[in-house]
Symmetry: C2
Subunit: 410 residues, 2 copies
């Protein structure tokens, strides 16, 4: 008899038939004596439909009003799922974010959860009632409707699990776990049984779409065990847990991300404050900069090159912002959208030397030029030409023995 | 410079293009210096889409959960309309029912408004901001989402007008006012310029779909002038007002209603309590009974016939409820769904004798048999065979001179 939060993605509740399937699955767990909070996403396609309506009215829809519209998708899901449970004779009750309440800050379209009032949920659980809570949404201190950004339902589920001290937060999705890399690219990719929060965080932020980054951060902060598993089978998926209980492997997985573009300021005055000015300006406009590489000015030359990457969707805003500034410091700007970031992630890198060297060697052996590098304690990322993405992922996956389940060779 | 509440129906906000048109109209009033609260319905078709989803999961959807789902239709509308106004440079802010808040009782799917907190609306109006409030929905004292029943947005608009003491509540719809009868049946039907709350109430409850009955009740209670007008033109529509300022006409309009069915208990024991038992049972199950006619028992016979009408949609429930009871009192039950109710309405009936006699005479002259009659101070309703509906409406409309604008002959 456990206390479980179950989150179902948009595909899992994408039709009346599928909502009924989810309800049957929940009913089975309920009948087994578990106490349950269920968090569904909007029906697949619904959020896009709502965003398209908004886009028809304002080129950049007002964030407050966009959240009012977008939040309805999950509200429909919770009502329907509660009905499906009631139809099976399971006591159930739906809640919108504001009803729980899920208190957030006021950063519309990308709000962060401040606190969750667990009172109503506890009452329901005590009464044998399944609480069905809308993911993705909350309410700010002024009573405005907010949303948490794409994939926010994961974060809602994990935050609720933290608030009610659930035994586990199950994330039901259309894949059966976290893989060593994208199986569409590498057929020999293997499902990972257990992975640490830190590794999952790097994989999530590197383009593995299984879990929203924020949800992993929250899980790590509160020590919530997260079980990523398939909504179409009963098989065990991937457990995301603290690193205590893990056997350390050098490389846990290989990720890639084609969503970024490279911006290069060539020949800028190498004076203090130039770089700060540029990135200060971008930060002010909420443009997230990922990698930054500044090459040192060459002997006698007082000019430097600055390279950084941003989301492709931000590129037009970046152009508007930096062209003038670049001219002011005597630099020209070059853009490249045909890039990809390929990364290897693993806790074991901390204690194993030579992982970086091996990575560069494996790519070089295939003639893949590395345009930029960034590293953390447990990851190495390389920017390469987009056309080499699949080749690089396969090379690294095989080179680090991930297809053989070791991930331990250096 | 007036304080105006404007309500727009589902057809008026049925597409992005139409929402933009509504916004332009609102912007024009705003630019002219008026202070505005706007209440849109759900986009046409949306409520039906949501109800169909619910019906796919439960034959009789749970009322609480149904309201959670149904309320999203209006929430989408307010967000989109606020965006459309912002796109035109008009300050605007949307509110769901619970945000205002519109406090209701807990009768899910047909809740009644208890009170409206006008604080936020007043603040917006003072700041030159258009408040866009979701119609049809509210929140009960326990924080559950409620809806007011079909057409509930009219009631929201009028109740807000009462709360903020608006100069007028404008109901924008796809017709240009209230007509003396259905123009589809009688081409010579005329638009009524001014009509009393009492008459409108009778016309509304008799099947003229222009205004929800509850909204007229609220308007009458608080003396809110209601202007029913077209969202597709600037022409003046119909003012619904107190009877002080009205020239009294004998007959204001002719209405008809095909949504009812007739139930007849034939040969029931004529003992005290029999009728009370039947209608008590129906009331308990929330079946609304419209007309009731009990024929006196004939000399020496202790048996009586009881006839009443209910909504066709309630008929199957009525059958389940009364068959046994009817047997218990020795009666057999007959049902007739092929009936219509035709009614004439007018304040002037109070002081003019002979209106009833003239009504019966007009119908008799066309050979239309009257199956049941009910009257109030200002209306006469006759149940007839459904096939004679149009003929009866035309006959009465012409017979009372409504096509000539007099409505005064008796």
């Amino acid at each position: 008899m456990s206390l479980i939060v179950q989150k179902f993605g948009g595909t899992s509740v994408g039709s009346i038939e599928r909502i009924r399937n989810v309800a049957e699955r929940v009913a089975k767990w309920h009948a087994a004596g578990h106490r349950l909070v269920v968090v569904p996403s909007a029906m697949s396609g619904e959020t896009n439909r709502l965003l398209a309506l908004a886009a028809g009215l304002q080129e950049h829809p007002d964030p407050r009003e966009l959240d009012v519209v977008a939040a309805t998708g999950e509200q429909v899901s919770v009502g329907l799922l509660a009905m499906a449970l009631l139809a099976l004779g399971v006591k159930a009750r739906s809640y919108a974010g504001w009803q729980v309440k899920v208190l957030t800050d006021s950063a519309f379209t990308r709000a962060r959860i401040v606190s969750i009032d667990e009172l109503k949920l506890r009452q329901d659980l005590e009464n044998g009632c399944v609480a069905v809570v809308a993911g993705f949404q909350g309410v700010d201190a002024e009573g405005n409707i907010t949303t948490l950004g794409r994939g926010g339902s994961d974060t809602t589920a994990v935050a609720i699990a933290a608030a009610i001290k659930a035994d586990v937060c199950e994330i039901y999705t259309d894949v059966d776990g976290v893989y060593t890399t994208d199986p569409n690219i590498v057929p020999s990719a293997r499902k990972i049984d257990r992975i640490s929060y830190e590794e999952m965080l790097e994989l999530a932020s590197l383009g593995a779409k299984v879990l929203q980054i924020r949800s992993v951060e929250v899980a790590m902060k509160y020590g919530v065990p997260v079980h990523v598993r398939s909504s179409f089978s009963d098989r065990t998926g991937t457990m995301v847990v603290g690193e205590e209980g893990l056997e350390s492997v050098v490389v846990a997985g290989v990720a890639y991300d084609k969503s970024e573009a490279k911006v290069q300021l060539v020949g800028a005055d190498d004076k203090p404050g130039v770089v700060a000015k540029i990135f200060g300006m971008l930060a002010e406009k909420n443009v997230q900069v990922d990698m930054i590489i500044q090459s040192p000015s060459r002997g006698g030359d007082s000019r430097t090159d600055v390279t950084f990457t941003v989301a492709k969707t931000d590129l037009s805003r970046v152009k508007d912002l930096i062209e003038d500034t670049a001219k002011g410091v005597g630099a020209r700007v070059e853009y490249d959208t045909e890039i990809a970031k390929v990364s290897i992630v693993g806790l074991g890198m901390r204690s194993h030397a030579g992982v970086a060297a091996k990575t560069f060697g494996l790519l070089a052996a295939e003639g893949i030029n590395i345009q930029a590098i960034s590293t953390s304690e447990i990851k190495i990322s390389c920017i390469i030409a987009a056309k080499y993405t699949e080749l690089a992922v396969r090379t690294l996956h095989e080179g680090f023995g991930l297809d053989r389940g070791t991930g331990a060779e250096t």
